[in-house]
Symmetry: C2
Subunit: 310 residues, 2 copies
């Protein structure tokens, strides 16, 4: 499980930061990539990374501003052109369906894979037992969502080495032990499966928010998150401007991370007014409030380890 930041800038593309997109890679977990937002030239950024367009299984759109969606028609078309055949689902606010449908139809783009477009209204938008994705509205002057992704806990694995050491041979018995049953062996021993199962592997929580003012739903979505990705368009001295443009400052994002008891905070959607060294200043502003803060950079990759790997 890892993030690849494809675009970490705000509003318009700049040389150093493209407009918004994050690839959330679930390669070990499900052989898939989920994209969050798809600003113009997201497919161009992907060319510079190991991300495979045909692996993209889901695209979650936070809101319909151009810097978050204008890369969609091209990415969808190229994924087909490059041989992608597996179904793809796009989730986003009302309007995303018309944008995609009109763009593909007018350009004569025929996809060679099934495309689902789901216009969401908040709540649980996806749940397959392995992952649950919940969306809640944020405050951005237009319909805008944040997404909370909760991985299910994985049952502990059977302690095969220990079982063999104690002379319990592999066989159908192992399945019953793994289910936690108590079993009587041929030699008369009585064995409780629960004594031979590792601790369950706790699922991870990832929160990816769209553009927003500081708001209560950001705290709800980010509660106990292993990684909270929050926009920080502006530095902490620009609180007024942030408010009037429906954006957040570094300090406001860090406040949200504290309130949510998140474990890590990643700041993105950085205004192009902050160049080079100023990124360090933005990070310091957040870290003064929430120490585990990082300002994202284009093409940055962040691995999210299993609890057992930490």
């Amino acid at each position: 499980m890892d993030f690849v930041f494809l675009g970490t800038g705000a509003g318009v593309p700049a040389k150093s930061r493209n407009v918004s997109s994050i690839a959330f890679q679930l390669l070990e977990e499900r052989g898939a990539v989920w994209l969050f937002d798809c600003g113009e030239a997201t497919q161009h950024q992907i060319l510079k990374t190991p991300v495979k367009p045909r692996r993209i299984e889901k695209i979650f759109i936070t809101h319909l501003h151009g810097d978050h969606i204008f890369g969609l028609p091209g990415l969808l078309g190229s994924r087909s052109f490059q041989g992608g055949t597996e179904e793809l689902t796009v989730y986003g606010p009302k309007g995303i369906k018309e944008f995609i449908t009109v763009s593909l139809q007018i350009s004569g783009t025929h996809l060679m894979y099934p495309l689902n477009i789901i216009e969401i209204e908040g709540g649980v938008v996806f749940n397959d037992g392995q992952f649950t994705v919940t969306a809640l509205p944020l405050e951005h002057g237009m319909s805008c969502f944040g997404y909370r992704i909760v991985e299910a806990d994985r049952p502990g694995s059977l302690m095969v080495v220990k079982l063999k050491k104690e002379g319990i041979p592999p066989g159908p018995l192992y399945r019953r032990l793994k289910n936690g049953e108590t079993v009587k062996l041929e030699d008369g021993r009585i064995i409780n499966g629960r004594d031979y199962i590792e601790e369950p592997q706790k699922g991870r929580i990832i929160t990816i928010l769209g553009d927003t003012r500081k708001c209560e739903n950001a705290v709800k979505l980010g509660q106990d998150a292993d990684y909270l990705i929050h926009e920080a368009t502006l530095a902490m001295d620009e609180e007024e401007m942030a408010h009037s443009h429906y954006h957040s400052t570094t300090a406001q994002a860090a406040d949200i991370a504290v309130k949510a008891k998140a474990k890590h905070l990643i700041l993105t959607h950085i205004s192009s007014r902050y160049l080079g060294d100023e990124t360090a200043r933005l990070q310091a502003e957040a870290a003064a409030i929430f120490p585990k803060s990082v300002v994202a950079e284009d093409l940055m990759r962040i691995k999210i380890p299993l609890y057992s790997e930490k």
Copy 2:
């Protein structure tokens, strides 16, 4: 007058060639830039050039395939965000208006300049006395146009140095001489204005075609052109594939240049199957038929001199 090639690839973006766009700069002539096609990330390519988005006065779209239009909504929005206030006109086939309107409306993009969108059907699409732009349909399996831009001849300038040398002082008289009138001086001399006017400056002819099979209208549009820009998606040994995909080969483009008696041929829309050295092979194929052939590269700039500068 010059071209800046912003994207010279076909279909999908590649690392070395972006999808289609050409900036035709008329800075000395009218302080303006005309864009031909606007594939995704055209605005990103512009960031690497001296081209100024607010100078873009007109955008001519050849056809509605995604690799020729998906950069439009972002470019139009960024031009506004970056302070462009002057009117901009987009010309293109039927459908271009719906694509732009829906994209801007759904994304909540409010332009701070007047935007005209003109759906063309061929013939003269623009004429202001200085430039005439004519469009004719090509053969591409969907409505697709080529554009011929004809610059008006400029009247010769008055030979001011010669007049002064002959003791004819500047004044209202000069305007009458410039109009070619015959004038009687105070000292009795009779002067014919036509003897004091330079040769007229012949206007240039530029032809920029969209994707097409080899076709008759390409010859018409390219007749006597100083520069003919023709697609060459494929090498000369792929004539069958070119035909079935409604594209041209290097040799076919060169044939058109010969038939049209063009002065220079620039090949673009090069398939990503041709990498590095193979570009030289493509150029050689065309040059064997039409010597003044060049394969365009991304960010290549070609100056088009006045006749008097040649």
